[in-house]
Symmetry: C2
Subunit: 351 residues, 2 copies
């Protein structure tokens, strides 16, 4: 298998390095061969190629079976015009490879609940997966333009765009507790009415799945007051951006969270949920778990290597349970270690 490795900016390179080490350990232990090809994206690519997603990078990804991404962005590039901003690389790669479903599991880890901003009895046992539509909606709809006097963005969805991401959510729910919460704003938006209609249609094909519709404002409350109520959430691009970030902090372990952005044929891009955190970049302090667990998601989703993925997840949990963590999780009498020490311990577990 060939993996395109795009470290990106800020702490991207150091957490990606951690994930790569873990993948190499897995390859050795289980007798796989992973060809790793590095390429540039984001701010680094703007600096070196004048393009946040250079042609060279697209070619490397095209010739790969999956993409492992670190993080992009940083205030250094904040004043650039849109087409030279790091985020544009991310938006373009999603669109180029048609990565229409962004999948983010959020699971409470008992030993980390003391870092949660929520009361422990609210955050305990949270276990949900958010499926966000990633290649349409307000992000890409046309017209999208501005003059000095006004500006316009367009929220547009086709039935097919909704169907495929909703199917994805139903499939995931089948492997879990069997409940899908579809989030929209059907009391105001036409796109949400279509969304709701498609969910109602698709659920006919999944009689085993319980379906619930929820308004986005109400969901923003429920994620805090009663997060255990959710199993699989499915929603459109902009709502998904907001709600998945909201959900990412409720268990107190943002730095732990992985994500996958996939299309139907198994190809996908895997990246930690956290950002590039330029303030701590290069200090050997970043939490490598988000990246490591993203590599595990890659093994599972893109390569079908389930036991290997599970081995990684167990190794990470076991190091955490031994009381080690990085600085972001210091609450509750844990032993804070540098990134590299944490990674070494994970690798020892795996060996």
């Amino acid at each position: 298998k060939t993996i395109a490795v795009l470290p990106g900016d800020g702490i991207g390179p150091e957490v990606t390095r951690a994930a790569v080490k873990v993948l190499q350990t897995i390859a050795m232990r289980y007798g796989h061969t992973f060809h790793l090809k590095h390429a540039a994206i984001g701010g680094e690519a703007v600096d070196n190629y004048g393009n946040p997603l250079p042609q060279e990078t697209l070619e490397v990804c095209d010739a790969s079976d999956a993409i492992l991404l670190g993080a992009v962005g940083g205030s250094k590039w904040d004043q650039q015009p849109s087409h030279l901003r790091p985020e544009k690389g991310l938006l373009n790669i999603r669109k180029h490879f048609d990565l229409f479903a962004n999948i983010r599991p959020v699971k409470a880890i008992p030993s980390l609940l003391s870092s949660s901003p929520l009361k422990e009895d609210v955050a305990r046992d949270v276990d949900m997966v958010i499926v966000r539509e990633l290649t349409s909606g307000l992000y890409f709809g046309e017209p999208k333009r501005r003059s000095d006097k006004s500006a316009v963005d367009t929220l547009v969805y086709t039935r097919e765009e909704i169907e495929r991401v909703v199917n994805q959510a139903f499939e995931i729910a089948r492997t879990r507790r069997g409940k899908v919460t579809s989030i929209d704003k059907a009391n105001v938006l036409e796109t949400s009415k279509l969304w709701r209609e498609v969910v109602e249609e698709r659920k006919q094909a999944y009689p085993d799945i319980e379906v619930e519709h929820m308004l986005v404002d109400s969901a923003a409350m429920k994620l805090i007051t009663n997060p255990r109520t959710f199993d699989v959430i499915v929603t459109e691009n902009m709502f998904g951006d907001i709600l998945s970030d909201e959900a990412s902090v409720i268990t107190g372990s943002l730095g732990m969270l992985p994500s996958a952005s996939i299309r139907s044929d198994g190809f996908g891009m895997y990246e930690p949920v956290h950002g590039s955190a330029p303030d701590i970049a290069g200090h050997n302090k970043a939490n490598p778990c988000g990246a490591i667990l993203s590599a595990a998601m890659m093994l599972k989703h893109s390569f079908g290597l389930h036991s290997e993925a599970m081995a990684i997840e167990e190794a990470v949990l076991s190091v955490l349970n031994d009381g080690y963590c990085t600085g972001d999780l210091s609450a509750g009498g844990k032993r804070v270690v540098p990134t590299e020490t944490f990674v070494t311990k994970v690798i020892e577990e795996l060996e």
Copy 2:
């Protein structure tokens, strides 16, 4: 002063009745005359007039100096076509009276922190005001239509629409800690770029105010992890809908929160943040504080009656501090009383 009273659906009538009693007590004690004119809105109006915002109601409001609203909506009307749904009455009245700024204070009440889903040291001392643009953006932009195959909504803002709500936020910040956080998605949306530009321009006129820009996804996290960081938030309609509901639960006292929807000349509509809660309607259980404190906001914003408003706020706090509350706030050894008992105690305080 003439006040249009629109009780609406669910618990709307009982909480509005509470607010009206309080206003009558204030009128007596301070020697004011309030003319109260009742009219229908929402589901009740759909049932009785076939229109969620009947002409009669518009005429009553037109002839008033302010509007006091209870709540609208209920599953009873969920299957109706859009123009016969209770929410449509709300959207139409906002647009009809050009109520462009929705103002929602969120303030932690020490004795209620035990009801918060957040850890008490996270929620303690939270004190913010959210200013949401209320008459433009995705809610009203054209084209807005759907076919069987696709649907479209339009997010459009003019410079003037942004300016007036941003000015409002700056003015409010002047009366508080002097900080404005403007929330947008300027890394993706053209409307957000214009929004950010207008905020940068307008801040020239308010050199005393500290201005911060924040992306909406990041704000959804910060509201939970560090809500004390906010003083005044200003944002567009859809983001404001989501973030203000998210913010409304962090202090554990959704039932306490008031709101104002105003235009520049002082005319405004005042309503509790909570919904119509049909499940508890008529049971004498609803928390009347949101409605009562909305009446206080009306006295302050629309009528300039500051000491009267403060008297109401103090009376409510004092009853809470005596240990009384309604069922929604029962955590932490409080004495749960029926709505009417709570109101009587507030009125005794005022007398």
